[in-house]
């Protein structure tokens, strides 16, 4: 199911794309492609596109693998939109709520050789804003923001 909304704005023409994606790794690629398409149209440079793409991939992997646990009955709601000054992405799963605060600091010396636990750290590193909230209906929603003029 796809929803495309376009609204006039005196500075810009924002567009928001929303998809309900299957809990598969193919959806990770789909979300990245969608996000990069919107981000490119918004005017982000190559360096920022790489960061946005990676943040989207890490968020989608969290939703598909850790949130929905590949459950074919559960979807990942993914939306990406931009206005004159920012790109906003939302990724919501239908899984058990997960407390990211319990993820050990991947930069702590004792954790450097851990083989997992770097995803959220990378998202925070690459985006300007990061918010996580537990949904009343179950699941977790991540909101990622990248400023269009951040340099």
């Amino acid at each position: 199911m796809a929803v495309l909304r376009m609204q006039e704005n005196k500075h810009h023409v924002p567009d928001t794309v929303e998809r309900f994606l299957d809990s598969t790794l193919d959806s990770v690629d789909s979300a990245e492609e969608l996000a990069l398409g919107v981000a490119q149209r918004a005017g982000f440079d190559e360096d920022d596109l790489m960061k946005i793409g990676m943040a989207v991939r890490e968020s989608m992997v969290n939703a598909v693998v850790h949130g929905n646990r590949y459950n074919s009955h559960k979807k990942v709601r993914f939306s990406v939109g931009h206005n004159a000054d920012r790109l906003t992405l939302r990724i919501a799963d239908e899984g058990e709520s997960f407390d990211f605060a319990t993820v050990p600091d991947p930069l702590a010396p004792e954790n450097l050789l851990r083989t997992s636990g770097r995803g959220i750290f990378l998202i925070r590193s690459f985006m300007d804003e990061f918010e996580m909230r537990h949904l009343d209906v179950g699941g977790t929603e991540l909101t990622l923001v990248k400023y269009l003029v951040s340099k």
């Binding site: 790794l25 990770v28 790489m50 990676m54 991939r57 890490e58 992997v61 693998v65 991947p106 930069l107 450097l112 050789l113 851990r114 083989t115 997992s116 770097r118 995803g119 750290f121 990378l122 590193s125």
Partner: protein, 113 residues
Amino acid sequence: MSVKLNTRQVGDVTVVDVAGRITLGEGSSALRDALREMVSKSQKKILLNLGDVSYIDSSGIGELVSGFTTVTNSGGQLKLLNLNKRVKDLLQITKLYTVFDVHEDEAGAIRSF
């Protein structure tokens, strides 16, 4: 394109030319399987040439760390060669750049074992 691995022997060093994307799924599992096989064959000196790696995610970083630990624990050495800017930046922000022995020149890397 997913990951592509090509292995060659230079003296007693096994050089693995890695190309493509090391991401969750096929990419990271191919690298994991290749490194485990080398360790099982008692190959102790492994040089991962990442020059043609276009993309690596946190899962791919995890596989590099896992490979490093597996090879080190078996008494071997795993070193990295030809990191592009993206991979280098990722290893730097995750503080792994100093964990790995990283080289820019293959001949020098071979001699360092």
